[in-house]
Amino acid sequence: MAVPAAGIAVATGAISLGHARAEAERLGPVVGFLAAVLVLAHFCDVEGLFQACGAWTARWAAGRPVRLLTAVFALASVITAVLSLDATIVLLTPVVFATAARTGVRPKPHVYACTHLSNTASLLLPVSNLTNLLAFAASGLSFTRFAALMALPWLAAIGVEYLVFRRFFARDLAAAAPAGRDTGEPPELPLFALVTVGCTLAGFVVASAFGVEPAWVAAAGALVLAGRALVRRKAGPLTVVRAAAPAFLAFVLALGIVVRAVVDNGLADVLGRVMPGGTGLPALLWVAALAALLANLINNLPAVLVLLPLAAPAGPGAVLAVLLGVNIGPNLTYAGSLATLLWRRIVHQHEHDVDLREFTRLGLLAVPSSLAVAVVALWGALRIM
């Protein structure tokens, strides 16, 4: 839908061809980076990484719900940070659900934890979230500096979420599983996938020191895992292309052009008036709150595209505050934004749906508290580093 909209925007002159091309050139490398990360995560799944993670957590938790929640928090935080939030939602959530069910633990808190952490734990690295990739390109930060500044907010936000979950789901977590349930076979270590991901991470740091685009490192990691699957005939070339989600990549490019057209035609003036300058604590808090609000109205992807050009002149601090808002904020609305929610309501009218009251109550507890703590942590990190 965004592709024809972008076509119309160019055709009607809402955006000049030059601006559209500039936007596409700016987003091109980001989209390539995203494709590499998607392929990397997909073939980690093919190598059995997520199944092994499920088996490890099951054995470690041994049917104790609180231990399982702790393990899920650690696992979902690391997976989201390294392999992006898509991997947590699409690949890890079913594994966590199966693990809880198999060990006789109520799955609800653990599935909710996956969905919340796919947002909250996507602060750490540029690869963790598409919003980060977009902001990373705009911020001018190096890969390692981005990660260093976001480490403290990442930990702080996850810590607050953990405390909220322990209280909110206290009843479900008190229902211990009957002893002696199957905790599964000891998993086979997916060594190749782990080493490849480890080398890719190390590659990001090295590449950043030498000024090489980290997208190339991600592409190399993706090629290694995809190549192995191709050689072992576990996948065809078509699977690799499909894993990169070409339709979605086109959507991101088109969305960028549409948003640019809207920003050029007046939105920049409106939002420019409410964007504060500077990177003092009150300014950062205000930027993050504004970003969270916008993300909840229209989804965090368009929100970050709209806000980045406005925040970038104030420096990396403001850009990272926008990220805190657009990444943590979507936990407030089931489906990530009111726009998506309305769309789902129209498409799936007769389907059973989530208990919105419960989801929103959890969001109202978790989002403002973790966002505020994360912004303070970011402010502190900016002061120290």
Binding site: I89, S118, A174, L341
Partner: protein
């Protein structure tokens, strides 16, 4: 007479043991598990938030996995019960499905699902509270683990003279 045992993850063994202890030998025992729609729906929602960047909706996988795990739970419960029984899997709004399943039954057995550290009304969560309040048959409400001591009840309020 038909005895319905509503089994939930984590607390079901107490219900099975209560059926063994209290259901008449000639009663027809039904082991009931209800899968709620909310957990898969959370995964559906998170996937919708990705704006379709991947093909497979994890919510669908959760629904399929939920069916498998309910079957496994009922299997383990039937083994623990050690007498002939009917296994019933339902899905929908949990508390309402339980009440519907209890229609015409001689006894509904269920376990407390709230704060079980002390005696009192908070030991019933919303789902069990609804089932107890609306059950169209006698109810046997059990503690999933040994009941807390009597001194967990707060002292009575001072006597009030109007």
């Amino acid at each position: 007479m038909r005895v319905i045992a509503w089994l939930v993850e984590g607390t079901w063994p107490a219900c099975v043991d209560a059926v063994r202890a209290h259901a008449p030998g000639d009663a027809e025992v039904v082991l009931l598990h209800v899968s709620g729609p909310d957990v898969p729906a959370v995964a559906h929602g998170a996937f919708a938030g990705l704006l379709g960047r991947r093909g497979q909706d994890p919510g669908d996988r959760l629904e399929a996995l939920g069916g498998t795990s309910a079957t496994a739970l009922l299997g383990a419960a039937a083994e623990r019960l050690g007498r002939p029984c009917v296994r019933e899997e339902r899905s929908g709004r949990v508390e309402r499905e339980v009440v519907a399943a209890a229609e015409g039954a001689g006894l509904l057995v269920l376990a407390r699902d709230g704060d079980r550290s002390r005696l009192g009304p908070r030991s019933l969560g919303p789902a069990v509270r609804f089932a107890v309040d609306h059950a169209p048959c006698p109810v046997l409400l059990v503690w999933p683990e040994p009941a807390p001591r009597l001194d967990t009840i707060p002292p009575p309020p001072p006597h009030h003279h109007p």
